[in-house]
């Protein structure tokens, strides 16, 4: 279990994360959503101890997580937004370096690397250096690297950014499989449909502050499960209704350009972020 208590991170005068408190259960698939600059990556960087908080603390299974906490860090693996790898290493070397950093025996590193690289369709490129890989291949390699150590907690910062639709779906299936094996997953993403499809719970943050946190269904119900879109002078405007009959009644009264649909998590996100930004 991960518990974040009153976490704050300042960079000079700028507060990236502001008193964030939340807890994530073992085996939970948790989404961290927010607009650009909301503090998602900073939060992930603090959980992975790359950044240290200005104040507050993070606990993993009741123990404070810091750079000295080797036992807690052993449970963690991270897939960062940027390609954080030695550019001159081959895929095999990247995997071996990771295995060595986590004290895996060489035979296990070799066996698991082969298995993962084959699964990701990278086996034939294993002698190629990172700088000669495409963006998608680098992303897949980072996933293989993170999974090599069989972490209990997987931190994913925009893992499908830049992936094509097919690769994204393959990634979703992989993450579901991992989560079914009781792996705790913390995901930040710009793709709200991704969070809605995968996450048990999501936290919406904006300007470093927690705005809402619940299951996607509960957040949708809170806003109103039914939406009517209409085109006005201000562009597309959506109205949300908790009651279906009420939404249909509104639709009948609206002009011919209005349309009815089910509310999505993206509506919750836009409503929450839009209200706070403007």
């Amino acid at each position: 279990m991960i518990e974040i208590r009153d976490l704050t991170k300042r960079f000079g005068d700028f507060t990236a994360v502001d008193g964030l408190s939340l807890s994530i259960g073992t085996g939970e698939f948790f989404g961290l959503l927010g607009p650009n600059g909301a503090g998602k990556t900073t939060t992930i960087s603090m959980i992975s101890t790359v950044l240290l908080p200005t104040s507050g603390e993070i606990l993993v299974d009741g123990q404070v997580l810091d750079r000295k906490a080797s036992a807690q860090k052993r449970k963690l693996s991270v897939i960062t937004q940027e390609y954080s790898m030695r550019q001159d290493m081959t895929m095999d070397e990247v995997m071996e370096y990771q295995g060595r950093l986590y004290y895996l025996p060489k035979s296990v590193i070799r066996e698991k690397s082969t298995e993962l690289l084959e699964f990701a369709g990278l086996a034939e490129f294993r002698k190629r250096t990172v700088r000669h890989l495409s963006g998608g291949m680098k992303r897949k390699l980072m996933i293989c690297r993170a999974l090599l150590i069989e972490p209990e907690i997987l931190l994913l910062d925009e893992p499908t950014a830049g992936m094509d639709a097919l690769s994204r779906r393959q990634m979703w299936n992989l993450l579901r499989q991992l989560n079914e094996r009781k792996m705790t997953i913390i995901l930040t993403t710009h793709y709200i449909d991704e969070a809605q499809a995968l996450c048990d719970r999501v936290a919406l943050i904006n300007r470093g502050k927690l705005q809402k946190m619940d299951t996607p269904d509960a957040l949708i119900k809170e806003l109103g499960a039914f939406a009517v879109d209409e085109t006005s002078e201000n562009g597309l405007v959506s109205k949300y209704f908790k009651d279906r009959a009420e939404a249909i009644e509104y639709l009948s009264a609206a002009g011919p350009m209005a349309s009815f649909r089910a509310t999505t998590l993206e509506d919750v996100f836009v409503d929450c972020a839009g209200r706070k930004i403007t």
Partner: protein, 243 residues
């Protein structure tokens, strides 16, 4: 264990860039040897100038080899490749990572110094290089590796590494008892120079090369630098909030 992992990573890098590393280690010292030692033939303290120059060049090579191996590599890993994040999140104790970097950097310095020693064999200088010389070269490498680590943790951009070389390594190369004796320098300046690690390394290796004892003061200075910068680099990696 973490130390072995870092040394493995350094070995991978060394094996891959063997020719580049070797040529880079040779070019400048070789030029100095040819120009000042063989081209401008002169004497120093009644001895052929080469006898003075070779220990200084070997010391300088260990300094530049160690410093550049760490400063450039760590700055790029931290700021450009973000590969340091992989280490930070891993359970490998960070002090072991630091120690591995220091030893790895020092071995690169030792290699650079060793290459110069090999190149001077045909010159037949009859200078003495023994186990203690090698230890001093290694110690000098550890000092400049730790300095490089601290500077690379302070760097704001990966292009800062060449600037550090220009600000620190180049002046030390020329002033610290490498090409000329500091005896003729003004008293205050000479005192300052004598407290710099390269001055002591050059002096100790030169003494041994001439069959004399190395003296304890040099070791004290080198260990003092090693401890101070080693502690700073460990504090940085554990406590620096935005590494």
């Amino acid at each position: 264990m973490g130390i072995v992992t870092v040394l493995w990573e350094k070995w991978v890098e060394f094996r891959r860039d063997f020719y580049k590393i070797t040529v880079a280690a040779m070019i400048s010292p070789l030029m100095y040897l040819i120009i000042f030692g063989l081209g401008i033939q002169t004497t120093s303290h009644g001895e052929p100038y080469l006898h003075f120059l070779v220990p200084g060049i070997v010391s300088m090579a260990t300094m530049t080899g160690s410093f550049s191996a760490i400063a450039q590599n760590m700055s790029v890993q931290r700021l450009y490749e973000k590969a340091l994040d992989q280490v930070m999140v891993s359970p490998t104790p960070l002090w072991q990572f630091i120690l591995g970097q220091i030893i790895g950097g020092s071995l690169r310095g030792l290699y650079a110094g060793g290459v110069i020693l090999l190149l001077t064999i045909p010159i037949r200088t009859d200078l003495v290089f023994n186990g203690l010389s090698v230890f001093i070269m290694f110690l000098n490498g550890t000092v400049f590796s730790t300095i490089a680590l601290v500077l690379s943790f302070l760097a704001k951009s990966y292009t800062d590494a060449p600037r550090y070389t220009a600000y620190i390594i180049t002046p030390m190369s020329f002033l610290c008892n490498t090409f000329f004796s500091t005896d003729q320098m003004p008293a205050g300046f000479r005192q300052v120079i004598s407290f710099l690690p390269l001055s002591q390394t050059s002096a100790m290796i030169r003494s041994i090369a001439n069959g004399q004892p190395a003296g304890a003061f040099g070791f004290i200075i080198l260990f003092a630098y090693l401890i101070v910068f080693g502690v700073i680099s460990v504090v940085f990696i554990y406590k620096k909030k935005n590494l």
